[in-house]
């Protein structure tokens, strides 16, 4: 399963912007992960200490999980970390692979655009709904989600253009950061 993709495809100003965006999104995801760890640990610890119990630890941890998932949803498109059926990639005719991969990414762009519309609707309408414990307006919770799906859409569009210009990406698990399913 040798990689045929040329290294130089990941250069140029567009990729620099993408890589900065990637760094920012992964940092947000990392903060969210560590927040989940700390909050859940606190929930366990406060039972054994005399501190007053915080009811919001569970709720905030749940929000962190949402923010984590949406902040790196786009990164996974760029890093090809989303789980997909890669049967088509094994076709000998690389033109077919290129066309199919492009169509797939265009579909992701379309789904991403739909998600942006949905997220926008939630940010603008869910202000009257408050979270059960913190009474945080739910529209705030959806703001990072909106940013995440917008990034997803842009990244999928860039990836689609990249496949059209540079040919198909082929699986290389060494590069993949996803290590579980």
């Amino acid at each position: 399963m040798s990689s045929t993709q040329p290294r130089q495809r990941r250069q140029g100003p567009l990729w620099r912007i993408v890589s900065i965006l990637t760094a920012v999104e992964i940092v947000i995801g990392a903060i969210a992960l560590l927040a989940i760890f700390v909050l859940v640990f606190m929930q366990a610890a406060q039972r054994y200490t005399s501190f007053e119990s915080f009811a919001w630890t569970g709720e905030l941890a749940k929000f962190a999980m949402i923010w984590l998932s949406f902040s790196v949803m786009g990164v996974l498109v760029t890093s090809r970390g989303h789980i997909a059926l890669e049967i088509v990639d094994s076709f000998k005719n690389k033109m077919i692979v290129r066309v199919v991969q492009t169509i797939a990414l265009v579909i992701v762009v379309a789904v991403g655009a739909g998600l942006v519309a949905e997220a926008w609707a939630l940010v603008t309408t869910q202000g009257i709904i408050k979270s059960p414990v913190l009474r945080l307006p739910m529209s705030f919770v959806y703001i990072p989600v909106l940013i995440g799906v917008a990034s997803l859409t842009i990244r999928a569009a860039i990836a689609a253009i990249d496949v059209v210009i540079n040919g198909p990406h082929l699986a290389d698990y060494e590069e993949s950061e996803v290590t579980a399913a």
């Binding site: 929930q43 406060q46 630890t57 569970g58 009257i128 709904i129 979270s131 059960p132 414990v133």
Partner: protein, 313 residues
């Protein structure tokens, strides 16, 4: 579903969602009764039931009713606090003396003020309110007086009204997800909890706790709510639906009382655990009402005082 209006020759299809299982009174005597009454009335209304949280969790479905994706839902008053804080006062500790007091309040003008303000603020109509049975404490020691709560870690649900109740009662609240409650009690992660008898029975908590103390500290009200779809119904349809809900309120109240009596009798006969029925309710109520009168402010305080003023005690 806009499509259905045309396809079914003018019949309006309404979704009625809730979180209860088929054997619980809220489904058996509540949702089913509403659906049966409305569907048999032949006024161009058809109700489809989606129980067991099939259409999402409680908080999620409140948002769905607000957005009009679910037409009718059955929600705890404290969950509705997420859209209109004062309505959660219905779930305040010892706000109501008993189910009759709830009925008296709901028949009063004060309740109309509350539901009108709720509709004004959220676009959601409250069609009826019943009690799913009062909440009681379970623990491995009897809880007869507020002092008995000292040093016990009691699990309360995480929403603000419940946590305020914990403080009002003098309990040390700790958080455990409902899904993890049985194991947490069994292993002693928490020492007690509070729920209505129907939940205590369905979670088999008698297996993992020694005492059920009948404190009846909160009525655990369910509100039947409806989206702005209500305004699209004609007068006849509104009357039929409203009557169906009122029928369900009566039915649920009867079913809950019958179920609780049966369950308590079963527990007493089997000796699963000790049932403490000499809880000093007056001491608890005095403490809670004093705390809540001091703590509530604004609209919430008005609702609380309105409820207390309809007490016959």
């Amino acid at each position: 579903s806009g499509e259905g209006d045309v396809a079914n020759g003018g019949t309006i299809e309404l979704t009625l969602a809730h979180s209860y299982n088929p054997d619980q009174p809220q489904d058996r005597c509540g949702a089913q009764v509403i659906a049966d009454d409305v569907n048999s009335a032949d006024v161009g209304l058809k109700i489809e039931l989606f129980g067991s949280s099939q259409l999402g969790g409680d908080a999620d479905r409140v948002a769905s009713v607000a957005s009009g994706d679910i037409d009718i839902d059955i929600q705890g008053a404290s969950a509705l606090g997420a859209v209109y804080e004062p309505i959660s006062v219905l779930d305040a500790a010892y706000a109501f003396d008993d189910a009759d007091h709830l009925a008296a309040f709901m028949a009063s003008d004060a309740s109309k003020t509350l539901t009108d303000a709720f509709a004004e603020e959220t676009g959601i109509h409250a069609l009826g309110v019943w009690s799913a049975g009062a909440r009681h404490f379970t623990a491995n020691t009897p809880i007869r007086t507020p002092d008995d709560l000292d040093g016990l870690r009691i699990r309360f649900p995480g929403s603000p009204q419940f946590l305020m109740n914990a403080k009002a009662l003098g309990a040390q609240a700790t958080e455990v997800a409902y899904e993890e409650l049985y194991l947490a009690l069994q292993q002693g992660t928490v020492e007690g909890q509070e729920n209505p008898i129907t939940n205590i029975k369905s979670q088999n908590l008698s297996e993992v706790q020694d005492y059920l103390s009948l404190s009846a500290h909160q009525l655990n009200t369910n509100v039947v709510i409806m989206s702005s779809k209500w305004d699209e119904l004609n007068d006849e349809q509104q009357t039929v639906l409203q009557d169906a809900v009122e029928h369900a309120v009566t039915e649920v109240t009867t079913c809950v009382a019958d179920d609780e009596e049966t369950t308590l009798e079963e527990w007493r006969t089997a000796g699963d655990w000790e049932i403490v029925d000499d809880v000093d309710v007056d001491a608890f109520q005095k403490k809670a009402v004093a705390y809540l009168s001091d703590t509530f402010t604004g609209d919430s305080l008005e609702v609380f005082e309105a409820i207390r003023s309809t007490s016959s005690k």
